[in-house]
């Protein structure tokens, strides 16, 4: 299967990001294909979140080209950007639920904004999304402050999935979760990816999560991306990558 045959959802070319004169990304190229789960790893402060923010249009890169679904994000006007934004969902680190809304209302925010559904149908959709992400029904009427960290992430994922996006960005979805919840979240991501045929762009630190969910991994090291599968990356000579996958934690996770 050659890469040209596959549908490219995210295409980065020569992406440069610098913050305060400090170059984080130096001419990065990346292709993400439809239906795959790609994991982004890298040390703290290496700019994983910045990379995600520059793809979803929250930050303008210093240089380079960002294409989503074949459309240039940086050249798109406001209206086109809205249409692109409807096609992807984002789960922020702490869920970023609107604190003045209940969980059901949070999920309905994009529905209300972009569709003309009746309130009854929106209530049904909210309940369906909640059961999809494995939250009990009484969560719908709760406020974000009443939820635990893991529940917030699930609710945030339900909101990200509200418009049935083709592409989902997850920013450290398992950080701060206990190992059991983290495992369940990995399974959830994988299941949803299969049943909804999602493309998933996942920023993470969690090597168990990488092993459980991703098809390919992009390692952000020395301002460049190195892309491969777990097996190919283990044989990569780069010292950071070696340390990451063959350090004590890495070995334990991969051995299991």
């Amino acid at each position: 299967m050659s890469s040209a045959e596959k549908d490219i959802v995210i295409r980065l070319r020569g992406l440069v990001n610098s913050i305060g004169g400090n170059v984080l990304h130096d001419h990065i190229d990346l292709d993400v294909y439809r239906g795959e789960v790609i994991g982004i790893v890298g040390g703290s402060g290496s700019g994983k979140s910045v990379l995600m923010r520059s793809i979803i249009g929250l930050m303008r890169p210093s240089e380079g080209q960002v294409e989503l679904f074949g459309h240039d994000v940086l050249k798109a006007n406001e209206a086109d950007l809205r249409l692109l934004q409807m096609r992807f969902g984002v789960l922020f680190q702490e869920g970023a639920l609107f604190s003045s809304h209940t969980v059901a209302e949070n999920i309905q925010v994009p529905l209300r904004e972009y569709t003309t559904m009746s309130q009854e149908l929106m209530n049904e959709i909210a309940a369906m999304k909640l059961s999809m992400v494995g939250l009990p029904e009484d969560t719908a009427q709760k406020y974000p402050s009443e939820l635990s960290g893991g529940m917030k992430k699930r609710a945030g994922l339900a909101r990200a999935l509200a418009l049935d996006p083709e592409l989902v960005f997850l920013d450290e979805p398992t950080s701060g979760l206990d190992p059991i919840s983290a495992n369940l979240f990995d399974v959830l991501v994988r299941d949803l990816q299969k049943s909804l045929n999602l493309t998933v762009f996942m920023v993470t630190h969690d090597i168990d999560s990488l092993k459980a969910t991703t098809d390919r991994i992009a390692v952000l090291v020395n301002k460049k991306l190195t892309v491969g599968t777990i097996d190919s990356l283990r044989n990569n000579p780069d010292p950071w990558i070696q340390e990451y996958f063959s350090g004590a934690r890495g070995r334990a996770a991969l051995a299991s």
Partner: protein
């Protein structure tokens, strides 16, 4: 123009026809979230009538997402709940796993937002409010007691408790940084009061008494009251927002685990700082109002500055000034205590910071005016 998908959009449709005792529902087109609202009503309207079987043929559906899938599953369930069998439920092969996932996972009922307006809920509301009121009273008493104790300790052992750097910083924040706004507003206040006084007193040829009214009014009441209200809006709200944000960030919890006394570190510097700063601010505000009055008297009534000063000298005594200034520390204490108290009440969410900041300003302005009325009654009894 970016299309919502590169594949061409085709609008969805659904037909139903009755053949003998079998209702055939055929569906096609794009069953996606974009079109869901156009499908919702027709699907609900399908009536099985006297049919015993319903066949749902969805092979012509070109695209299906979870919202469209839900609509199909919901329709099927509605038929089954009505006692009609659904032997045929077909969708393109590609989407079968999605439908299976929705059908197996979705066991919960749709969310109902129930509004209850019964006598019971009305009584419950009253009960809750009463208990909240009592709990708040209890909380305030505990808080005042705690701060007073720490305060006394700070007075007896100033070295241990009083954070001098924080105190000086607070005095700068609430006092020195407030000088421009307080000065400008009180200058304008002086102009306004002098103009109103002059306008009325001119009718009796007593316009010189404008200065008496201005002097006594500003020094005894307006100066301190107005300054206190400005400071409640400016610094009381800042206290609540600062402490509240620290609460949201878990900084207060961190302080406690590090063995820092929150009252010493956060509350006492603010309270003492404002108690020290407000009398000075009030004095400054009085002067600015007098200057504003002088300007207005000069232009409106032709009273020269030396005349103005002479008249003012006759009208007011040092006591007049002190009667006003003595209220300042009391007002300051109330404003700072309310501001910090509401800050400590903030819950761990962003909305709560805004809500309690508003409440803190309303409460402190209310208390300042009530206390001012109390002072007036007290002074009239004492004959000051």
């Amino acid at each position: 123009m970016v299309n919502s998908d590169d594949a061409t959009d085709s609008s969805p449709w659904v037909h139903s026809e009755l053949q003998a005792r079998t209702l055939r529902v055929t569906a096609g087109g794009d069953w996606t979230v974009k079109h869901a609202s156009t499908l919702d009503v027709p699907l609900r309207a399908i009536d099985p009538g006297n049919a015993s079987d319903v066949e749902i043929h969805g092979k012509e559906i070109s695209r299906l997402d979870s919202t469209g899938g839900w609509l199909l599953v919901r329709t099927k369930k509605a038929f089954e709940d009505a006692g009609v069998r659904v032997p045929v439920f077909e969708v393109p092969e590609l989407y079968a796993p999605l439908l299976a996932a929705i059908e197996t996972e979705h066991v919960t009922q749709p969310v109902e937002i129930t509004a209850t307006h019964s006598l019971e809920s009305f009584l419950e509301g009253i009960g809750r409010a009463v208990f909240r009121f009592l709990a708040q009273g209890y909380g305030i008493l505990g808080y005042i007691g705690r701060v007073t104790l720490e305060w006394l300790e700070a007075v007896y052992h100033p070295r241990g408790n009083l954070r001098v750097t924080a105190l000086v910083h607070q005095i700068e924040q609430v006092g020195i940084n407030a000088l421009p706004i307080v000065g400008l507003l009180m200058f304008l206040m002086g102009i306004v009061l002098a103009y109103q006084g002059a306008d009325q007193l001119k009718r009796f040829d007593l316009e010189i008494l404008t200065i008496n009214a201005l002097g006594v009014g500003v020094l005894r009441e307006i100066g301190v009251l107005f300054t206190a209200i400005i400071i409640a809006g400016r610094s009381g709200s800042a206290f609540t927002a600062e402490i509240g944000t620290m609460k949201v960030n878990e900084e207060i919890d961190a302080m406690q685990t590090l063995g820092l006394n929150v009252v010493d570190v956060l509350i006492l510097p603010r309270v003492i700082g404002l108690v020290i700063a407000l009398p000075f601010l009030t004095f400054y505000a009085d002067i600015m109002a007098m200057i504003g009055g002088a300007v207005m008297c000069y232009f409106d009534l032709g009273i020269t500055i030396p005349e103005y000063v002479r008249q003012l000298h006759q009208a007011v005594t040092v006591n007049t000034l002190l009667v006003g200034l003595i209220k300042a520390p009391v007002f300051a204490y109330v404003i700072a205590m309310v501001g910090c108290y509401e800050g400590m009440n903030v819950e761990r969410n962003a909305a709560s910071v805004g809500k309690l900041t508003t409440r803190s300003v309303v409460e402190s302005v209310f208390l300042v005016i009530v206390l001012d009325a109390g002072f007036s009654v007290l002074f009239s009894i004492l004959g000051i």
